[in-house]
């Protein structure tokens, strides 16, 4: 299948970027990233600079393959990362526009690669459990209500890809931050530090320059792990409880 690509090319953080058109011959069985690999081989052979894009596991769990495909983070499929998208979802002759995450909190490094260390700093502000909670058998020794552990696990599935920020009309990092807060607050191991955690993480999220949440719900639609915005309501309750007590 012949595809027409328009890819955001930007040489460096402070350079002007633009969409550049490429032609690529892809196979419907390829993944989206393999299709870009093919393009990059073409570019290298032609002596041009290949398209920089982040990728690692290519199975939807590392959260690296961040790209906005035809205006949608991770492409058209629900509950999948860009690496899990296959070319059979496109037709011969299609034009595909590929852009990086756009947010002040995620400055562009090059082409489709953005700096997501803002998320690391939000985690470092409180998204952890300070004491050693032991290894797997010790965890099993602490009884946890089934519904709670399941809900905590649903929030824990966040892979920190940043699609929530990319999709949000306000470039808010609320769904990411809220998922981490909810995941840890629901478990006994995370309970001890829940008050300081929520205040510090919300504070850090603001410092990183992400916008406010306006409850559009655009984040839950693009989340490759389909984490609902109930997490954000949880974060708000958690925050007020921490401040008022």
């Amino acid at each position: 299948m012949k595809l027409s690509l328009k890819i955001w090319r930007q040489e460096g953080p402070d350079k002007e970027g633009r969409l550049v058109r490429y032609q690529v011959e892809a196979n419907p069985h390829m993944s989206f990233l393999e299709m870009i690999d093919v393009l990059n081989e073409q570019l290298i052979k032609a002596g041009e600079d290949p398209v920089e894009f982040d990728h690692d596991c290519r199975e939807g769990i590392c959260g690296s393959c961040n790209m906005v495909i035809n205006g949608v983070p991770h492409g058209p499929l629900r509950g999948t990362a860009a690496c899990q998208l296959h070319m059979r979802h496109y037709k011969d002759g299609d034009t595909i526009v590929i852009e990086p995450w756009l947010a002040r909190g995620f400055p562009i490094i090059k082409d489709l690669v953005v700096d997501r260390s803002a998320f690391d700093r939000i985690i470092a502000a409180g998204g952890y459990v300070s004491v050693d909670t032991g290894s797997a058998p010790d965890a099993n020794a602490i009884p946890i209500e089934k519904v709670k552990s399941d809900t905590a696990f649903d929030y824990a599935t966040c892979i920190g890809c940043g699609a929530c920020v990319a999709a949000c009309p306000n470039a808010s990092a609320s769904l990411f931050t809220a998922s981490k807060i909810a995941h840890l607050a629901l478990l006994p191991q995370g309970d001890a530090e829940r008050k300081t955690r929520v205040v510090r993480m919300v504070d850090q999220m603001e410092k990183e320059g992400f916008g406010d949440c306006s409850n559009h719900g655009a984040c839950e639609v693009v989340c490759p792990k389909e984490i609902p915005i109930d997490a954000i309501a949880f974060m708000r309750r958690e925050y007020m409880k921490a401040v008022l007590s």
């Binding site: 328009k6 955001w8 969409l19 906005v68 495909i69 035809n70 205006g71 949608v72 058209p76 499929l77 629900r78 526009v97 852009e99 756009l102 947010a103 002040r104 909190g105 009309p169 306000n170 470039a171 808010s172 609320s174 205040v199 919300v202 504070d203 999220m205 603001e206 320059g209 992400f210 916008g211 406010d212 949440c213 306006s214 409850n215 559009h216 719900g217 655009a218 839950e220 639609v221 693009v222 609902p228 915005i229 109930d230 954000i232 309501a233 949880f234 974060m235 708000r236 309750r237 925050y239 007020m240 401040v243 008022l244």
Partner: protein, 230 residues
């Protein structure tokens, strides 16, 4: 003292701003429900019914002024935070995407109503200035109710809505109120963290119905008044 400053820091935080927007929003929804119920008395064939209602409010005296000032404070706080959130949004993403698209199965709770809150909000703020100047400080004639002097607000309303342009203006703004409430009611409840996951869909749907009912309630009034006078 320290707990006071902690509360201020908290209320100006990203979560706090949403709480304040939500609380002021809920108060305003309660106010306009009361306002609509009061206004429906305009439909009574006896003008005295509405004038007596207006007089009973004015008889609150000092308390009425306190309520009015509090209400103005709520509106200004709501508008101020809304504008501040919009300004931060402009900074949070300087340039938008070149193309826009949709996930399979649609864009969820995002809608024209949610994307236009700042615009509908600003129109409503301007509308309020016109509306208050027109009816709160407007040129109402004197009348008498129960042997006491009162303002003939009923006549002022009838006169205003005998003009088709005022009718069109009010109906237009009420449609925008419907849009603002459609996202606002749901958003306020989500902001206040009042959501149980399984209620999320129901509350999103209920916001549509309440928004629609309030908008229709308000916009049929000028239409009915106009038609009755033609």
């Amino acid at each position: 003292m320290e707990s006071q400053s902690k509360l201020i820091v908290a209320l100006t935080s990203q979560v706090g701003r949403k709480y304040l927007t939500g609380i002021t929003g809920v108060l305003l929804v309660i106010f306009i429900i009361g306002h609509l119920l009061g206004n429906l008395q305009l439909l009574d064939s006896d003008p005295e019914r509405f004038n007596a209602y207006a007089k009973s409010l004015h008889d609150f005296g000092l308390l009425l002024y306190i309520i009015e000032i509090a209400l103005a404070g709520v509106i200004l706080l709501h508008a101020f935070i809304g504008i501040a959130i919009f300004m931060r949004k402009l900074k949070a993403r300087k340039h938008g995407y070149k193309v826009s698209g949709q996930k399979q199965g649609g864009n969820g709770k995002q809608s024209l109503a949610s994307r236009s809150m700042i615009y509908t909000g600003i129109v409503l703020l301007i509308f309020l200035v016109v509306h208050i100047a027109q009816f709160r400080f407007g040129p109402a004639k004197e009348t008498v109710i129960n042997n006491e002097p009162a303002m003939d607000l009923h006549a002022l309303v009838m006169e205003t809505f005998s003009n088709i342009w005022w009718v069109i203006f009010y109906v237009g703004v009420m449609v925008l109120i419907g849009f603002h409430l459609r996202h606002g009611i749901w958003s306020a409840l989500q902001s206040l963290g009042a959501m149980k996951p399984r209620w999320s869909k129901a509350i999103h749907g209920a916001a549509l119905i309440i928004g629609l009912l309030l908008a229709i309630g308000f916009l049929v009034l000028p239409i009915i008044i106009y038609v009755r006078q033609v």
